[in-house]
Amino acid sequence: MTTAGTPPVGHAAAVLVAHAGAASLLVLGGLVLLPVLLAMRATRPAAAARPWIGQGTLAMTGDFISAAGFLGLTGLVALSGADALLYTVGWLVAWPIAICLTAEPMRALGRRTFGEALALRFRETRIRLATAPALIVVVIFYLAAQLVGAGILAHLLFGIAYETAIVVVGSSIAACMLVGAVNAAQWVQMVKTGLLLFAVLALALMVVLHFSGNPLAVLAQAADRFGDGVLAPSRLTENPLEALSLGLANAFGPAGLPHVVGYFTGTRNRQVAHRTVFFASGLIATYYLAGLVVGFGAAAIAGRDAVTALDPSGNAAALAVVVALTGGRLGALSLAAIVAIVGGLTLSGASALAHDLWIAVLRHGSAGDTAGTPARLWVARLATLAVVACSILLALALRYQNVDFLISLVFAIGASAQLPALLLTIIWRGFTSTGAVASILVGTTASLAVIYGSPAVQVSVLHHTQAWFPFDHPTLFAMPLALAAGVLGSLVGRPEPGAAARFARIHRQLIEDRTARP
């Protein structure tokens, strides 16, 4: 994940391109046209009078999983073996934590975004100014992760340059937004989830059937080929502090990023929300377990050399396993799976923009009023274009990073810049707007500073010999700093007029939600 230099396009990829021919047109359709068409058709809101619980489950699952996450996971497993479990276990553990700590109160308060929740207590402009950078950084990193995945797949499948692929996919995401994906954010999520679950389960099935239906045989074969180290902790856990920092980000990041449980916080009916979250986290567990099987399958069937030959980051491991299983002659199932993944990449990017950026700009920190004035619509459009442009640049710079590492940085920022302020807003009476601003700014700055000074950026991207900071993952340092800044700022600053009354109202609302019948 930290290799630099130009990778050789592997023999396997050449085979794939040669045989893909007409099929590649289909993949291109999945990558660019399908999402745009979907977005154009689906301009009606998906809120039916009595929505089927499966819809909510799919939407909630889609809020959390992304196509890039799958590509990165399979790559990590294929190249580092069981180390990748540090990610998947964290993402599952994050669910009860996020629901209990922040999502349940936010649902009760009827707030969906970080900015909206803070606006419950603080009305000052500087709060809005402080929340914006954290939000934008999160969206840019997340989008860049999807773009890296899409760029690698498109590059390997069509032989077009990685850079061109990134720009094409980025533009397609922007187009989705501009033609109205935002009006169908939930619908887009559901389609995305369906595509991804289908793709991952299909690939896992192909792998397991190759080993006559025994998932453990996949792992055993991988261990036979590359030693028992495949099933044991290795590189990622060499430094306990680094592992802890990554763990903190994975476990607490989602709690600080309300949109990853956006469907939950947007559902007013508690009972339905609770049932949905149970089903959704079950689907997510299945998704990751299947991803692990595909990752071990990539090591067992294709081998690590084949994976790194396609791309040294490991992000193409899922492709490597398809090539190895089919010898480059894509069957209907594997082709459909690849189309589903590339479509999912574009939709993941578009839905992140819709959820996090567009709605936040239009709502401007206050609940309701999603229609927005014409002026705000223009702001949202310009912001979308600017964010996509930044993500494209970032994706170009971070080409050889494993995308799961990029996603863990998103969670790191969520855990450091947003979670402390969000928690203190809900539970601490003495929290003031000065504390909130201090906490957000310190959390954002500290995370970004550590990421910039980390070996991943200094050594692998900028090619310096040494990093300023010995760690890749910022959460262990940034999160306590942000919490301390929030407390200190509150002790120093004066409370905003009316803040106490608003805190009391928050608590009344929480109690009423508990005791009122649905």
């Binding site: 069981a82 479990l85 540090l86 998947t88 276990v89 964290g90 599952l92 553990v93 669910w95 009860p96 934590i97 629901i99 209990c100 700590l101 349940e104 453990l216 045989a217 996949v218 792992l219 055993a220 074969q221 991988a222 261990a223 028992d228 180290g229 099933l231 044991a232 902790p233 856990t237 306990p240 592992a243 802890l244 763990g247 476990a251 508690r270 009972q271 609770h274 049932r275 979250v277 149970f278 986290s281 079950g282 567990a285 990751y288 377990l289 608590h507 929480l510 109690i511 009423e512 508990r514 005791t515 009122a516 019948r517 649905p518």
Partner: protein, 86 residues
């Protein structure tokens, strides 16, 4: 609400400590984590799958508990109209 926060924090803390335990196992207990108990199954893989399942069950437990408590709690305000609606 107090009881609700207690249970919420309890579930969140136990999930977090399971994960912390897993991190400790893979950082300080490498020999144990690496032990292969069956072909293709090491202690680390087994622990990971178990914790993932338990995290899912914890979410389910919370959902079940939360829904059951709320079903038992009498409507506040005593307007009566809400009871009829439910």
């Amino acid at each position: 609400v107090q009881a609700h926060w207690r249970v919420s924090l309890g579930i969140a803390t136990s999930a977090a400590s399971l994960y912390a335990g897993f991190i400790l196992l893979v950082t300080f207990g490498k020999p144990l984590a690496a032990r292969v108990i069956a072909p293709g199954l090491s202690v680390e893989v087994l622990a990971a799958v178990m914790i993932m399942t338990m995290a899912w069950l914890a979410t389910g437990l919370y959902a079940l508990w939360s829904n059951r408590i709320e079903a038992q709690t009498p409507a506040s305000g005593g307007t009566g109209y809400r009871d009829e609606a439910g």
